[in-house]
């Protein structure tokens, strides 16, 4: 369990990082290393050059920009978890973050690293998918933004440009109105890779009518997916409605089957978690003041 030989650079600017990434065909970005380092040790990943972006100031931090909250790629998860800005403006992400790994891995693991890796059970990716966040890459001089739906294409396979560097995730701020969120997942051990996860955000009018409904399912198939729950819009999103809409929305959900969880289990669990997440979102929204 020793990595194959590689070179290592730790640039201090994004330009230098991009130049380094462009200099070698098999260059890879190293951020928190919570997934990449074990993969290197097991020789499952064999880059020739590692570009460590954790000391690039312009890639660290969380800020408000107009109607968005920008989380820069090398921001560690533990920092995001403690961010008041995220708690206030991106409550769904705030609910997802405690489920990401464990305190020691969150202290090193980064928000961008989790998204860039493209694991289907990654909670941050699921929140980004539900919220239709922008995943922004710098590729040489160019900047490209992807929607999660187009970015994640398979288990740990993404549309990330070769030689590109993820710079930030742009989360839309929560809409005005009465907003509630819910995030639930199930794993064999707490904070393990989930067998199924569900993230929901609902918006209600002042009169208690649902005006916007979002739901995403992670861990079940090859990528996190946003599913159609528009059937809740215009109603009160009561338990029965939630049950019917979830059943319809997940009818054709693709699910993987492995040693630890059958596909049938994943689908069934996803539905149960989706209902929970939506109920929690509804209750939270209705308790909130507009």
């Amino acid at each position: 369990m020793k990595p194959a030989p590689f070179s290592y650079v730790r640039p201090s600017s994004l330009d230098e990082a991009c130049a380094a990434l462009a200099s070698e065909e098999d260059a890879r970005v190293l951020a928190g290393g919570q997934t990449l380092m074990p993969m290197l040790a097991m020789r499952l990943s064999r880059p020739t050059l590692l570009v460590d972006i954790t000391r690039i100031a312009e890639l660290i931090g969380i800020e408000e920009q107009g109607s968005s909250i920008v989380v820069r790629a090398a921001t560690v998860q533990a920092y995001a978890l403690r961010s008041e800005l995220i708690a206030r403006e991106v409550p769904l992400l705030a609910k997802a973050l405690p489920n990401v790994g464990h305190p020691p891995t969150r202290n090193r693991g980064t928000v961008g690293g989790s998204v860039a890796h493209g694991d289907p059970s990654a909670e941050i990716s699921l929140a980004a998918t539900v919220l239709e966040a922008g995943i922004v890459f710098r590729d040489g001089e160019d900047e490209t933004s992807f929607l999660p739906e187009e970015f994640f294409i398979g288990p740990t396979v993404t549309m990330a440009p070769m030689g590109g560097c993820l710079t930030r995730i742009v989360f839309p701020k929560k809409p005005s109105g009465r907003v509630g969120t819910g995030f639930h997942e199930v794993a064999s051990r707490r904070s393990d890779y989930a067998f199924a996860s569900a993230a929901a955000q609902l918006v209600f009018d002042e009169d208690g009518t649902c005006s916007e409904a979002r739901l995403g399912i992670g861990s079940v198939g090859d990528v996190p997916v946003k599913v159609d729950v528009d059937g809740l819009v215009g109603g009160a999103a009561d338990d029965a409605a939630i049950r019917d809409v979830v059943a319809e929305a997940l009818r054709d959900l693709e699910a993987v089957d492995d040693l630890h969880a059958t596909a049938s289990y994943r689908r069934r669990a996803a539905a149960a978690l989706a209902e929970r997440a939506l109920r929690e979102a509804r209750d939270e929204a209705l308790e909130s003041r507009p």
Binding site: M1, P5, P38, R43, R189, D192, A272
Partner: protein, 800 residues
């Protein structure tokens, strides 16, 4: 029966564990911490096939790489070493550290690459080209048993390593007379103890001294003998350093193949060689998987719940080579009826080779799987008759006044008070309240269940299963030794002649010696001489050290005290009988008194004051035979281990019927391991054992895919319970001293693990009782539970 010493001020006292300080401070000394100058490192080339002929090995590219010292193949190794030892008489199941001519499981080591660093060795190992011809393979034990199965070792003729049927008592008659019968099959999944520290070994050959020095993370009887035998060098040319801390084991740290390999390389290349397994090597090819076992049980019982007789077939999947693993079918014979009065038993023990990783000893040496089968049997009988699960156990328990009690297979249980322990646990649990809590959880829509398990921990590890399963083996002793020495300044040093993998031997020996000599245990030094300086012993296996090392230490200290009294009587010119020993001072009649320092002075300096025939110095050695270990097995009956600890588990589990993630809401264990020498050590063993049992019941499995590849090669997929999954455990203590040990102590090294899987399985069944669902295999995975409930609900919906 041994004359018993009374527990006193140190034994059973709530004293700190001496070893904790250095471990908590990170100052343990593990094999990977050793800095041996000039050491070279090993990486292994592993087979990707579960079965294949090795046609050609081309290491030329690897050998040309910088920093590479050399490459060793199985053919070269086999030509100059003897095969590793088999427990059974299976001479054609030959095992060498590297595959010879043929690989027999995916991950098996094919050749070893030695280089200046482990990273360079891994780089070079990738460049070794091995050409294989793939062969058919077999993974399933039932299939391996078939006569037309692919043989893993063609020279052996079949895959059957062991196929022995024992009949104890009038089984057929009892079956005929019994009012009811039932039968079932359960499977114990392939799991193991997975220590934090993987196996590691460093060996160094000194050609001038002609000595092989070995430092290893080892827990193994006869380790140095086995190295010497395999390398064909004299036994006294192997010096194993026992003062190396072992970072967890519970049976599996038996890296004999690693050690012989590294020792050979050290001699071949004239340099110290080090091999520290990485996690993949440990899981895939460390040859350290535990039992994987199918039980078929037929039970005959009466309507009052009394179990009359049992027929059990245990089929063990030993993996690709034999080793000692099949003996794990033998040890449970010593407690084959558990804590119950079952008058006759038929036991059919079968062990087969398959193309899986080699099985090794794991905590309990086969007892925990057997206990799981026995306890499943008691639950099924209870369900069949509609009798309460605790009540049915009570009706079948051996009663306190029946001890010592000889079970049908020939082992005598030393002592026990099962009914009382159960009563104490039920009082602590408040069973009606627990049942009310379960029903409240059910009313909330959760699945909730209570599980119980009663079982024994045979302890004081003896070797009787060896001659019982292999008639050529005549071993009837598994002695353990201790020497206690008082130096010229009057300080006491005691010796331990094996490694420790966390059992707390230093605390044990200092407590016992301090107790006997009435001196502060913290002032007693405990050392571990190397194997050349050691007295005979068998290492801390079989839950034996409190009994065996504790016994040897107490007897040596008693002997030493006897010498002191003789010296004092002579010096004071009075009879020994008139003297009183008090905290190292000897008091005689009329105010006569000798201080400890006076005795030391006489013994070490004043030969002229010593009684005639007494040697100078003050030292005593005791080599202890296992209590009750007097003879070889006769007619399939054997006295297995001397002592039998008892445990009774009650557990409440709850889970959502769809998500099916079991949460342990309450865990109470009653534990009787006789006189406790150090309460912290016993508590730690029990808590760890329960955690291990939760893993075995719900999470852990070394699982293979259809192509013979191990799917669980890291902690990503081999799921061990974490602190989140292990609940707070309440321990209810009871003490029934063993009549066979110096303080009445029994073993506790396997406690908790021996009953937890059965108890949790019972709780899971209770939780789904309404649907009549059974889980016939451990681990019970969440998705299995959820899928079965969904199917039952669907069935209910259709029939409604």
């Amino acid at each position: 029966m041994t004359e018993q010493l009374r527990p006193g001020r140190f034994v059973s006292a709530n004293r700190r564990v001496r070893e904790d300080r250095r471990f908590v401070a990170g100052k343990g000394r593990f094999v990977a911490d050793l800095d041996i100058p000039g050491v070279a490192h090993v990486a292994l080339v592993a087979s990707q096939h579960p079965a294949a002929f090795i046609e050609e090995i081309d290491a030329s590219e690897a050998l040309a790489m910088p920093g590479v010292v050399g490459v060793l193949t199985g053919d070269e190794l086999a030509a100059s070493t003897d095969p590793l030892m088999n427990g059974l008489d299976t001479p054609h199941v030959r095992r060498f550290p590297l595959a010879v001519g043929q690989v027999r499981y995916a991950g098996e080591w094919v050749c070893a690459v030695v280089a200046e660093s482990r990273a360079l060795a891994e780089d070079a190992a990738e460049k070794v080209r091995v050409r294989y011809t793939k062969l058919g393979f077999v993974l399933d034990a039932e299939k391996a048993l078939q006569t037309d199965s692919t043989p893993v070792h063609p020279a052996h003729g079949s895959n059957v390593l062991l196929d022995k049927t024992f009949v104890w008592g009038e089984v057929e008659r009892d079956f005929e007379k019994a009012e009811e019968h039932l039968s079932f099959r359960v499977t114990w999944g392939r799991n193991s103890t997975v220590p934090i520290e993987t196996f590691g070994v460093v060996a160094k050959w000194d050609p001038w001294e002609q000595v092989l020095d070995v430092w290893a993370s080892i827990q193994m009887p006869k380790y140095s003998d086995q190295i010497a035998r395999a390398l064909r060098i004299p036994g006294n040319a192997v010096r194993v350093h026992y003062d190396v801390d072992v970072g967890g084991s519970y049976g599996v740290k038996r890296g004999i193949k690693h050690s012989v390999l590294v020792a050979y390389l050290a001699r071949k290349f004239g340099r110290p060689i080090r091999l520290i397994e990485d996690r993949i090597e440990n899981m895939r090819a460390g040859d350290a998987h535990g039992p994987e076992r199918i039980f078929d049980v037929d039970v005959a019982f009466d309507r009052d719940g009394r179990v009359r007789s049992m027929k059990m077939r245990a089929l063990d999947n030993a993996g690709a080579y034999a080793g000692r693993a099949p003996f794990q079918l033998g040890k449970p014979i010593g407690a084959i009826v558990g804590p119950y009065l079952i008058e006759s038993v038929q036991y059919h023990a079968v062990s087969v080779t398959t193309n899986k990783t080699v099985e090794e000893a794991v905590r309990g040496f086969g007892q925990s799987p057997t206990n799981y089968a026995i306890e499943t049997m008691m639950d099924r009988v209870a369900a069949h008759l509609g009798i309460d699960r605790i009540e049915i156990r009570r009706r079948n328990f051996i009663r306190h006044e029946q001890f010592p009690y000889t079970i049908p297979s020939g082992s005598t249980y030393d002592s026990g008070d099962y009914h009382v322990v159960v009563d104490k646990v039920l009082e602590a649990v408040d069973l009606p309240a627990l049942e009310a809590e379960r029903d409240r959880l059910r009313a909330e829509g959760l699945c909730a269940g209570i599980g119980v398990a009663a079982c024994l921990e045979p302890s004081g590890g003896n070797s009787s299963f060896e001659p019982l399963l292999n008639e050529k083996n005549r071993t009837s002793t598994w002695m353990e030794s201790c020497r206690v020495n008082v130096d010229g300044l009057g300080f006491v040093t005691a010796t331990v002649h094996t490694t420790s993998s966390g059992q707390g031997h230093e605390t044990l020996v200092s407590t016992v010696v301090g107790e006997v000599l009435e001196i502060d245990p913290d002032k007693i030094r405990v050392v571990r001489p190397d194997s050349l300086g050691s007295l005979p012993g068998n290492s801390p296996v079989g839950s034996r050290m409190a009994i065996m090392l504790g016994g040897a230490a107490a007897k040596a200290a008693e002997d030493l005290k006897g010498q002191i009294m003789r010296i004092a009587a002579h010096a004071l010119k009075v009879s020994e009988a008139s003297l009183v020993y008090r905290e190292g001072t000897i008091e005689g009649p009329d105010g006569l008194k000798l201080q400890w320092s006076d005795i030391v002075d006489i013994a070490h300096r004043r030969f002229h004051d010593l009684p005639p025939g007494v040697a100078p110095g003050l030292t005593a050695t005791h080599i202890l035979q296992v209590p009750t270990g007097r003879e070889l097995p006769k007619e399939g009956r054997a006295q297995m281990y001397p002592c039998h600890s008892f445990e009774f588990h009650v557990v409440l589990v709850a889970f959502d019927p769809v998500l099916a993630k079991p949460e342990i809401r309450r865990y109470v264990i009653g534990h009787d391991c006789g006189t406790v020498i150090n309460p912290h050590i016993v508590k730690g063993m029990t808590l760890g054992g329960i955690a291990h049992g939760i893993g075995a019941a719900l999470l852990e499995e070394f699982a293979y895919d259809e192509g013979g590849q191990l799917m669980t090669q890291s902690f990503l997929d081999y799921l061990m319970p974490s602190s989140h999954e292990v609940p707070a455990v309440e321990i209810v203590k009871h003490v029934t001293p063993s009549p066979y040990t110096v303080f009445g102590q029994k073993g506790s090294g396997e406690s908790g693990y021996l009953g937890a899987p059965a108890a949790i399985s019972g709780a899971m069944h209770d939780a789904v009782r309404a649907w009549g669902i059974t889980f016939d295999k451990l681990p019970i995975r969440m998705s299995t539970v959820s899928d079965k409930i969904a199917a039952a609900r669907e069935h209910d919906r259709k029939t409604a």
